[in-house]
């Protein structure tokens, strides 16, 4: 071993060698961005390499499309045709179900020990959460694009025009981003992949099915309509529906009582929901992460 007397002389240049690279790359903000990107990339690599995740992400929503388009759809009467009504709902349902993977991914990281290493590195800690939710935005974007193509193949023909269709998709994605933070909190609380799934599913199930995703809320019993018509998944899906299908279709939906308000109002309500969820759950998730 190096004699103690000699070692400071050795230690100093070693430290000096390490510090330029650490200092050279800039401010705390640019570190936060770089760390987030590095971790988002890692999380996305997981999606491409773990077959179960791929199935969960892409195959499951396709099966829902086929199920509702061809099995149940025939018995659901909606002005403008069921397939047009269904697809914006599918986008919503897909990202809501997909949000559980934020919880599962974070919980598995926490349980698996790699977070131990992250905590001992000079990285910006928040980027563990941002890298996770950011990766989920990228994944959701991919899924929505694929589902759009699948929808087109089964007869989905939105008439809202490209800008409104893109805006509708963006709204769904922003909502998914907000939900990711709710699920991040769940994942951090339970710190175990299977438990995360067990907690997330009962939350997501009523939100998806007691909503306007697959069926008309106005056909539900009165007591359920109160919840179903105003809960955020319905609001966001109807906003996307109104935007994507166009003014004529929205007017028809409103005329039969399926839409309870105008598309503009749905859009504004969606934005409010998204902002409120983010305002509450981002700080909660960050606090939980710093605590655990």
């Amino acid at each position: 071993m190096t004699a103690p007397e000699a070692s400071i002389a050795v230690t100093v240049p070693r430290t000096a060698a390490a510090s330029p690279s650490i200092e050279a790359t800039g401010s705390k903000l640019s570190w936060a961005v770089k760390d987030t990107l590095a971790l988002a990339k890692r999380n996305l690599l997981h999606y491409t390499r773990v077959p179960q995740l791929l199935v969960f992400t892409f195959i499951q929503p396709i099966m829902f499309v086929l199920l509702f388009r061809y099995v149940f759809g025939g018995s659901i009467a909606v002005p403008g045709g069921y397939v047009n009504y269904l697809m914006p709902g599918i986008f919503g349902q897909t990202v809501v179900f997909g949000a559980t993977s934020t919880a599962i991914g974070l919980a598995e990281d926490l349980g698996g020990g790699i977070i131990e290493r992250f905590r001992s590195l000079p990285m910006v800690r928040m980027s563990v959460l941002a890298g996770r939710t950011g990766a989920d935005v990228v994944r959701n974007t991919g899924v929505v694009i694929v589902m759009f193509i699948v929808g087109f193949a089964v007869g989905f023909r939105p008439h809202g025009g490209v800008p409104r269709i893109v805006l509708g998709a963006a709204l769904v994605l922003a909502f998914a981003f907000a939900l990711s933070w709710v699920m991040a909190l769940v994942g951090l609380k339970v710190a175990n992949g299977e438990a995360a799934q067990a907690v997330a599913f009962p939350l997501m199930f009523p939100l998806t099915f007691a909503s306007s995703v697959f069926v008309r809320v106005d056909t539900m019993p009165g007591w359920l309509q109160g919840f179903a018509a105003h809960q955020p998944v319905t609001v966001v899906v109807n906003a996307a529906r109104g935007l994507m299908l166009g003014p004529e279709a929205s007017a028809q939906l409103r005329a039969v009582g399926t839409f309870t308000t105008s598309t503009t109002s749905y859009v504004l309500q969606s934005v409010a929901w998204i902002a409120a969820i983010l305002a509450i759950f981002v700080p909660l998730a960050v606090r939980q992460f710093n605590k655990s």
Binding site: R14, I22, G113, E116, P122
Partner: protein
Amino acid sequence: MVVFNQYLTFLNDLATVDGMSQPPAIEVSGLTKRFGEVQALSGVDLAVEPGTVYGLLGPNGAGKTTTVRVLTTIIRPDAGIARVLGIDVTKDPQRVRQSIGLAGQYAAVDEVLTGRENLELVGQLTHQSRSVVTKRADELLERFGLSHAADRSLKTYSGGMRRRLDLAASLVHRPPVLFLDEPTTGLDPKSRNDLWDMIRELVADGTTLLLTTQYLEEADVLADRIAVIDRGTVIADGTAAELKAQMGATVLEISFVDARGADAALATIASVVPGAETDGAVVRAPVYDGAKTAMEVLRAIDAAGLDVGGLTVREPSLDDVFLTLTGHRAEEIDPRPDDSDVAPAAAPGGAQ
């Protein structure tokens, strides 16, 4: 960092001018930490000189991992001071993190990524430029004999390969202070020896290393100084030689045909070696001044005409040290039943 380097240089000058010793690279005093009912640390004190290897030796549940997690800023202590390169781990954890590397008790690697991707991820998270990271990853993969598996997912790695990658990952940013928590637990003897060689190579260039282990031999082979930790406190520390000396003795074991012979011999030598005792047909005599007393013992037995069956001279092992210090053997299961079970499950990122 620049300021810090100047500070070190300043201290270095001070040391040479005044002949003062340099500040410890790792300094711990009065560290306590409690997890619910369990007092994991109850006042740990340590000082590790720069450029040396310090072994933290203790049985399951002794508090080794907890000490390492405090020093690597993963958890905060309840009380006490912990400094790395003079920086307080609770006051300026971010600066401490720039100077440390950690290979924890359970490999903290991403199973889905390849070996190279794992190293590059750590490189990016320690804010090094892409070209530096790429080169460093190659270099480490080569050094740890993982080049052939560099682009394979970790799912295909053996336990030993995963350990080596974990160690490599702790070195990506060339930390001057390194923490290895039970680096060879679970490895076969050959892999263990290989890893020992790698660790020796590593510290040859001046890295300060704190290493925890349950293996007495490992501490003896690798560490310049050893602290024996048990139930959250350091119960002895020193060089391996000092610890052995503290326990005294070379042990003379003389065996006889039967217990009667042993009893007779004990009576004969009682005045020469007061600490001698019998164990069946064997007499055990601890001798503190080596050859002189040993010769006297043998002469007395010979003079009494007793029939000696066998004779062994045993230098004290660290196992003896541990037994004397704690009253139980180091490799025994922790006697506190409910504590030892909690540790492995709770350690990686459990509730704190």
